[in-house]
């Protein structure tokens, strides 16, 4: 009975079910993005010996005896306040910007991230079906790479439309960085394709088959160098420290979003965090066994519980990874622009190629 309803919810091709699923995933992504902002603020506070947001509350919530206090002290209502602030601020339109593109840029920054969500698998139903928005697509990784790199158009357009120098520099840096790191990222993933694409496997590009190939050891154990390169590239693609060239507050004011405020800035903000979420999900699916609980221990429990535990383990890994992003941000200073370029072209790319060659030869010899 429950399984039937779940199957309908997750697999039914009827349009209203599809729309509901899409909305759910977007809402989940948005809430994770909002709460990773909270995580960012809290973790940075802890690292710096501070307390972090612990005052925001609402009379209705503060009234709950013990729980309300915990929610207030933990800052759990802060994201709602932040969001409302962005929503109700005056949405100023500077006089010197190119208006159409200025308004378009935040949308273009966010849309690709949301689109690439359709390919993400989250877990496995007891029937063996996959929980995803677009079941059966066998080009998962390629699609994700292709679409999520479009996010840089948002940055480039924002920098250009703002019609002032700092955003423009930020946009140029962003584009250059994305091109440099996209290559190394793609090459590092190829070794994982090689491992997954056994002769009996006909859709090696699908994220699902990659996860299924990791029931034993996770890919990070077989492909540590590829995993490291991919990790660094995820940081660079998400424009996070130590690669936040397009923003770099200290030398470019705010980088590409200097001229933005209110809700448009909020969109950029959400796009950045969503980028982090998509990048982490990709890393988890390709290298950390997706929804498998531990290496050599793919599932715990049976039936619907196995599904729930799998989902839980995926989201736990995601949360841990988001924390890692934050942790690195408050540890490492920003690389200089020339260092970023040097690491991208002269270190990561050759290492990725060499790594690929080694695995290539090894798989060829193995037959």
């Amino acid at each position: 009975m429950i399984e039937q309803i779940l199957n309908d919810l997750i697999l039914s091709p009827a349009w209203y079910y599809t729309a509901a699923r899409g909305l759910t995933v977007i809402v989940i992504l948005m809430s994770i993005a909002a709460y990773s902002v909270l995580l960012e603020r809290k973790a940075s506070a802890w690292i710096q010996g501070r307390v972090g947001p612990n005052r925001t509350n609402h009379p209705l919530i503060a009234w709950i005896p013990f729980f309300g206090n915990v929610l207030t002290r933990g800052g759990f209502i802060q994201p709602a306040a932040d969001g409302l602030k962005f929503l109700f601020k005056e949405d100023a339109l500077p006089g010197h910007v190119r208006k159409t593109f200025y308004v378009l840029a935040p949308c273009i920054a966010l849309a690709p991230v949301l689109i690439s969500l359709v390919m993400l698998p989250f877990g496995e139903l007891p029937s063996g079906q996959i929980i995803t928005l677009c079941p059966g697509a066998d080009i998962g990784v390629l699609f994700m790479f292709a679409i999520s790199s479009l996010g840089v158009y948002g940055i480039a357009l924002a920098g250009w439309a703002a019609n002032s120098k700092y955003p423009f520099l930020g946009a140029i840096r962003g584009s250059a960085q994305l091109i440099s790191y996209e290559l190394a990222m793609g090459l590092s993933v190829l070794t994982v394709f090689l491992a997954t694409a056994t002769p009996d496997q006909d859709n090696a590009l699908s994220l699902v088959s990659m996860v299924k190939a990791q029931t034993g050891a996770w890919n990070i154990l077989y492909h540590p160098i590829a995993a490291l390169i991919f990790l660094i590239c995820v940081f660079a693609e998400a424009n996070r420290h130590p690669f936040d060239m397009p923003e770099s507050e200290t030398d470019l004011v705010g980088g590409f979003h200097t001229e933005y405020g209110a809700f448009k800035f909020g969109l950029f903000f959400v796009a950045e965090y969503s980028h982090m979420i998509i990048g982490s999900s990709l890393f988890i699916l390709m290298f950390l066994g997706g929804w498998h609980v531990l290496p050599w221990l793919p599932t715990v429990g049976t039936g619907i519980f196995a599904t729930l535990i799998g989902l839980g383990s995926f989201f736990f890994k995601l949360a841990a990874f988001l924390f890692f992003f934050v942790w690195v941000r408050w540890t490492v200073p920003r690389f200089r622009y020339d260092q970023v370029m040097r690491i991208g072209w002269r270190v990561l790319l050759p290492v990725a190629v060499a790594n690929l060659l080694v695995y290539f030869i090894w798989y060829a010899l193995k037959g």
Partner: protein, 181 residues
């Protein structure tokens, strides 16, 4: 002075990859993360004010309860932002400390102007005005931020006195008067 030339060691391979340094840095920040916060939750917790703290200027009484200010107006003249306004007044013949001759009728310190420089305390010949431990002045109107005489004595309280200057003067005057007769 001798110049010592420090040899610049080229970076080792591990250092060139940045990774050991980044991992060491992550450990440092992790250690900080698990430490308890050092922040004081200000409105809930109050800081411990050390002795000799120079906060809001106040007027004090001596241990006999006599107001020490004799309204000489030196503090009013020295005050750089002109925050102090004194209206001098006589002490009535009927009061038992009329030998002091003068006392302020009104004494106002405008805390919107005060810059906490402490010159008033420094210049006071009677040790009557003191910058004491109160550090937080708030009010909703400009009038609330002006401390009048009553408020100043309430904030100041009583401080120990080692001289009892006016008592000595009174005793001396009485002795001389006695000797003359």
């Amino acid at each position: 002075m001798a110049i010592k030339i420090v040899e610049r060691r080229p970076l080792s391979f591990a250092e060139k990859t940045y990774l050991p340094q980044i991992i060491a840095g992550l450990k440092v920040t992790w250690d900080n993360l698990v430490k308890p916060p050092v922040t004081l939750q200000y409105p809930d917790e109050r800081p411990v004010i050390p002795n000799g703290y120079r906060g809001v200027p106040t007027l004090v009484r001596d241990p006999h309860g006599r107001e020490k200010c004799v309204s000489c107006q030196l503090c009013e003249f020295v005050c750089p932002p002109k925050a102090i306004r004194i209206t001098p007044g006589e002490i009535l013949e009927t009061e038992d400390n009329n030998h002091v001759e003068k006392a302020p009728k009104e004494f106002e310190i405008n805390m919107l102007r005060c810059i906490y420089c402490g010159l008033c305390q420094e210049v006071c010949p009677e040790e009557a005005i003191w910058l004491q431990g109160q550090y937080s002045m708030t009010g909703k109107t400009r009038e609330e931020m002006v401390n009048n005489k009553e408020k100043l004595y309430e904030l100041g309280g009583t401080l120990p006195d080692s001289h009892y200057k006016w008592d000595k003067k009174k005793a001396e005057a009485e002795r001389q008067q006695h000797g003359n007769h």
